[in-house]
Subunit: 241 residues, 2 copies
């Protein structure tokens, strides 16, 4: 593309990618098409499942991830967003393959936690089992000084993993009570704000999120803020609500 | 991309592109990411305004359109979708630049008119002024045998063009009464079904569309059907509702 553009490594899942693009457009301060941020999307939804790989039950997604990153970098992307938390388990390898910065979804979520609740000390995280096992939220948030609260192994097995699988099959209404229960357990353990640390989760939590948007951080929305901050400047990225 | 993929020439506007991708995912019969259709999106929202060009008030978008089509074709797209009706004014030039087929949004809409109302004889079309002036709906639909009803010049000036500009500025609620009025005029002139022949229009007509989905054809949704038909086969593309 002749113009400066954002590279998006998507397809993980494809609905989360469309959601990222929609949120990006809606938050961009533009009144005509031409003032929006041009995007090149490499949406390879055949990328192997990230969690299956982390828990040793499937092939590594890394070759697909690197193919996408190298493609976007070779086309001249100024920055790259990956609207999938679990893919960030391979962040270092991907960043090493690109001269353009990869905007980190976990760091973006941490920034939005602070904006939404500057006094929060205990943060709940809902994510895939893969993201949980790799500790990418735990490590980033504890380094900042947060205490992190996550579902138990039993809750992953009976609530989170089935709910995410329902989301992937577009069965959001069926997933909703499972997310409700998983979230309640985090509140019960003292979480003051909960990160939706899987970009598919918001589709099954729309009602909860809308009822109390300041109690949740949607990682896809946080990544949008990071992209706006990069392309337009901090003052243009609206304080999330 | 190693795998077979759909090329999308987008950014016209960028919200319509996100909407196309969302509708594509939601209509695809897949229960895991890997069964969806991989997508490469060239989203150059800096493409000059299509209507401004048609009415002689702006530069031609054709160089941008051809750059995008050539890029997607060179990457090996199996087929290309352009979720912008007005861009189809340059369909022949774009198709000549690509060995891969460009799925035509007006033909896709015509197919959905027939599926939704096989007995319709008179079809209303809401579109940009550019699409209207170039007659791409008129020519395609009259060739099939439909009578076409469109807004008057005065209605374009006072209702449609302002409403589409509001949509582009994300002011959907303000646009809604203008679309309501424009649609009512088409019903009054005997339209039996109305095509939303600009991919931005559905954002300002959600209430009307949801209340009576069989009375409207959303051209973006029709283009999704064409893509599913191409990649998966007619039997997999759900009858629109």
């Amino acid at each position: 593309m002749e113009t400066s553009f954002l590279g998006v490594l998507g397809g993980m899942g494809p609905l989360a990618t469309a959601d990222f693009l929609r949120k990006l457009v809606k938050k961009t301060p533009a009144d005509v098409d031409q003032k929006h941020i041009p995007v090149l999307l490499y949406g390879d939804c055949t990328t192997p499942d990230r969690t299956a790989s982390v828990i040793g039950q499937g092939p590594s997604p890394l070759p697909h991830l690197l193919a996408g990153i190298r493609f976007l970098a070779a086309q001249g992307a100024r920055a790259i967003c990956i609207p999938c938390n679990s893919a960030h388990c391979w962040y270092d390898e991907m960043q090493a393959a690109s001269p353009a910065p990869l905007l980190h979804i976990v760091k973006a979520s941490a920034a939005q936690i602070h904006r939404k609740n500057p006094n929060a000390a205990r943060v709940g995280v809902l994510s895939t089992l893969g993201t949980h096992r790799m500790g990418i939220y735990h490590d980033t948030l504890t380094a900042i000084g947060y205490e992190v609260v996550t579902p138990t192994d039993h809750e992953f097995e009976t609530l989170i993993s089935p709910a995410i699988a329902m989301n992937k099959a577009c069965k959001w209404a069926e997933a909703e009570p499972l997310y409700d229960e998983a979230t309640q357990r985090l509140w019960d353990r003292g979480a003051e704000i909960v990160v939706l640390g899987c970009t598919e989760i918001p589709f099954g939590m729309e009602r909860q999120y809308r009822a109390n948007p300041m109690k949740f951080v949607d990682s896809n929305d946080a990544l949008v803020d990071a992209a706006l901050n990069f392309f337009i400047g901090a003052e243009a990225a609206p304080a999330a609500a």
